[in-house]
């Protein structure tokens, strides 16, 4: 987690390389100084956060192994200051409710400028 107010660290968790590329591109267009790290699974994200907690995290749900909701729950249990956006195509109400219960923001895929703006708004509202 960074001490510098301007340079934040964002962990992007998604099994799709294309999605990670898109999230990275849209975020850096708005926040060029942020450091972005990536994980391709929920398990990898939990491990990364244990060693190097980010300020923010975008989390897909449908991934091989640990799903994104469970990964977010584990991350927030150990690192409650990490701000998590569940960014997923799995848009059913049950998942939106789970995200809210965790204190995370739910944003629907596809990854677009608008979707990333919603995520950034959530991150910056607590930054």
């Amino acid at each position: 987690m960074s001490d510098n107010n301007n340079v934040k660290t964002l962990l992007v968790v998604d099994d799709s390389r294309v999605s990670r590329m898109m999230i990275r591109a849209f975020v850096l267009a708005k926040q060029p100084h942020w450091a972005i790290i990536e994980a391709a699974s929920g398990n990898e994200a939990v491990e990364l956060v244990a060693h190097n907690p980010p300020d923010f995290c975008t989390m897909d749900i449908n991934m091989p192994g640990l799903n994104g909701i469970d990964a977010a729950a584990l991350i927030l249990e150990k690192q409650p200051k990490v701000r998590v956006v569940i960014l997923t195509a799995n848009i059913q109400g049950v998942n939106q409710n789970r995200a809210t219960e965790l204190g995370a923001r739910f944003v629907s895929k596809p990854v677009t400028e608008k979707a990333i703006a919603q995520a950034l708004e959530f991150f910056e509202s607590v930054a």
Partner: protein, 204 residues
């Protein structure tokens, strides 16, 4: 030779998962319960290489919803589920206590609706993300043997390329695995790849 690179395949898998997410949301409203619907992997092959074994179809009879899509490119889309599973899906969709045998008369209509939701969700996700327009025909439903389905695929000489999507569908207590097959002509495949290239180059 597979003309799709790993990045093309990743992009298509993500596009179809977005479609599956939309379809799951619609279906969950119908059945009033959580639906798990995902596209864990896609494969590309030529129709001449398709066999029942290659499709990993071990069921003798499959419920098949067919729909044709056209626009910037054309495709025949087929959604396949084992017939018995298809009837269980229908029962969940109708919240019915009827026996599988008694449900058979509703199978045609309910499976067309299921296919319409899943196929259109996947194709509309593709159209939105790749910025194209696709129109669809009305869906048709039939129960065919796996050999008959493979024969139909092979006979589509104008569409010799096959995109095969593995689908996991879980409604309430029922788990089912199905397949979504897109048959493409050479020109349609070329157009699709060109669109994906344009999409990827926009984010690199």
């Amino acid at each position: 030779m597979n003309p799709l690179s790993d990045l093309h395949t990743d992009a298509l898998t993500e596009i179809f998962n977005i479609g599956a997410g939309r379809a799951a949301s619609s279906l969950s409203e119908i059945v009033g319960d959580e639906i798990k619907l995902s596209v864990p992997s896609i494969q590309f092959c030529q129709s001449s290489e398709v066999t029942a074994a290659a499709l990993l179809i071990d069921n003798l009879h499959l419920g098949t919803v067919r729909q044709k899509f056209n626009g910037l490119f054309e495709s025949t889309a087929m959604l396949l589920f084992a017939e018995e599973r298809a009837l269980e899906i229908v029962r969940d969709m109708m919240k019915s206590e009827l026996s599988i045998e008694d449900l058979a008369e509703f199978e045609q209509e309910a499976m067309c609706e299921l296919g319409n939701i899943v196929l259109n969700a996947c194709l509309s996700a593709m159209a939105d993300i790749l910025n194209i327009t696709l129109d669809s025909s009305l869906p048709t439903y039939s129960v065919d043997s796996s050999e008959a389905i493979v024969y139909q695929i092979i006979c589509e000489e104008d569409q010799p390329f096959v995109l095969l999507l593995h689908i996991n569908l879980e409604i309430e207590k029922h788990r089912s695995q199905g397949y979504l097959i897109f048959l493409l002509s050479y020109s349609s495949l070329t157009e699709l790849i060109s669109r994906i290239d344009g999409f990827i180059s926009g984010i690199q």
